[in-house]
Symmetry: C2
Subunit: 351 residues, 2 copies
């Protein structure tokens, strides 16, 4: 039985769900892969808990579900310790960095946590787009230098293994076009507008449902889709793209009349992230509201589905979609990435 | 630069396309992955060619495209050497076994070639379902014993990485239902019947198009779909299934009246391969013509698309589809598998 010591930073929707679900999977992980996960530290925005012998993941989840802070964890809780201090203090094998995207603050505290962990020789898994968008090349170079794994499948399209497939299963190919609907709430809002709601009504409904989070501009103005495209382009297409390299427009760039007219023709708008190979060998990157008809490779996507399509030279046109009714799949990309690091499949692939 | 010595058995549609496309990709493989592929031996049903210094892959492809046999390859051709003798005689690093499915002959010569290669310490990649269906557990045990890689992503749904995703990206999950449309020609024939063609007309058209190969019963009676389901179930779901464990029916089990009625309702029939988790923890396996409406997760599949959907406990419902207009994607699964073995991505996943 191999023991994997985990530090988890961020206990919002993703971090909390990871704790809850990983705890429920403990027997399966032991039996199927010979792995035991030990959560030696966890941090939220109000403090941390640290215990080298392990925190009870179900208890951490319960504290957060009740609206508390992990710094109140019996005995191990520390209100005077933040995430960065926890990563510095702990001894662990892997960092799961699940703090919220925070580009205004230089992607902190995630970026410093990741750098610190890699310097300590820990593997790093993160569903947080901020550090990737801010320091993609630097973090990959550091991971190579320190011989640690760096995985971030959860940054794009939730639980869909879009990055894993792109990086592994398209090896040897040239990707001619990559198109993705990597963000649910923009499509939801455009569908509401197309159905006749006013802008204020649509935004209020999206906020009330929890689909739209604060600050809403991050989603509505296309920043989220653009950030995901930057990660896809850098990881899969070998680009060195920044957010500014993406031609970007938000939901409000389409008139409500156009949204309604599209619906009447059986079409719909989605905020489409697209990378298209140009004659000079570079990719044109865009994240724009785009009218999608039934014949488009992603035209089949329902209102609760994200998707991606790779048009390649040697592997045909491959389309993926995920229906994610709650945040568990996004959270469990951290388990997927962790298992990809620790499960030895050198000889065969049997699950 | 790492040199990978290849023996390729089978030079039909897949083997020939592999040679042609891998030759065209030589510079890319060297530049992107530091790999040089050297084809030290190749065999078809009429003989072999063997040259430790390497055969010209483009020339092998050209010989086959002209209807010839590789045993006529200048100097290296050997009409007196069959595939098994070639594998025994050659020194190589990896076997690509692309001979046709031949269950009547005990999956030979593929099965013996694979066993021989593993005993010699070679990695094995195959898109041939025969050896997998016949000896799944034995070949995996042998690969583990010999510490060689054994990959077969091309056995299911052509160029779609259905097995890779299932085995790697669903780790830690319980798959509740797996549904696949892994065979194109059965859907094509049922669509033709639904459009008013007689059985004889539909079969003749499918044969003329090349979509239906001899013996047609392999596809039409559901054996191909059942074989693919056996491989999916054993590789991803941990089953120990045989062909006889699959409840199977062929295209002709549906009346033409039902096919026409479905089309009139906006539905269609597909030969659906399905594994459903039962209360006792085992999977019910079936490969049956199934009416698929627009609401089915695979209802969007076009007539030229294969697809698969995994309904899981922790990763949501993930759907994949591929449009494959010619056999190159299926052939290049051998490159995908080879690169997965030889490209070191321990630290990062960048393509």
């Amino acid at each position: 039985m191999q023991n994997v010591r985990i530090v988890l930073v961020g206990l919002g929707n993703l971090g909390r769900r990871f704790c809850e679900t990983a705890a429920a999977k403990a027997d399966l992980l032991a039996e199927r892969y010979g792995l035991r996960l030990t959560l030696v530290g966890a941090a939220d925005s109000r403090g941390a808990a640290h215990n080298p012998a392990g925190l009870d993941m179900a208890k951490v989840s319960a504290i957060k579900e009740a609206g508390g802070t992990v710094s109140s964890y019996p005995d191990a809780g520390r209100a005077d310790m933040d995430a960065i201090a926890l990563v510095k203090a702990a001894e662990a094998d892997i960092l799961l960095e699940a703090s919220p995207v925070n580009l205004d603050a230089g992607a902190e505290p995630g970026l410093t946590c990741i750098r610190t962990a890699m310097h300590k020789g820990w593997h790093v898994v993160t569903p947080n787009k901020g550090p990737l968008v801010t320091a993609f090349a630097e973090l990959h170079a550091l991971a190579r230098e320190k011989s640690v794994a760096f995985r971030y499948d959860g940054t794009v399209a939730g639980g869909l293994p879009a990055l894993n497939v792109g990086c592994r299963d398209l090896r040897g190919a040239d990707v001619l076009v990559l198109e993705a609907v990597p963000n649910l709430v923009t499509g939801y809002v455009m569908d509401l507008l197309a159905s006749g709601l006013t802008w204020d009504e649509a935004i209020a409904k999206a906020l009330a449902s929890g689909a739209l989070e604060s600050p809403p501009e991050w989603d509505l103005d296309g920043w989220d889709a653009a950030a995901k495209l930057v990660i896809l382009a850098n990881a899969i297409l070998g680009c060195d793209a920044k957010l500014d390299d993406v031609a970007r427009a938000g939901v409000s760039s389409v008139s409500v009349a156009d949204l309604i007219a599209a619906r009447q023709r059986g079409e719909k708008y989605r905020l489409l992230a697209k990378a298209a190979l140009q004659d000079d060998g570079t990719y044109a990157l865009s994240a724009l509201p785009t009218r999608i008809g039934p014949q488009h490779p992603l035209g089949f996507l329902g209102s609760r589905q994200m998707g991606i399509v790779y048009t390649t030279d040697i592997y045909g046109t491959i389309t993926f979609a995920i229906e994610e009714l709650e945040p568990v799949p996004s959270a469990m990309t951290m388990l997927r990435d962790l298992l990809d690091i620790y499960v030895d499949d050198a000889s065969t692939l049997v699950i």
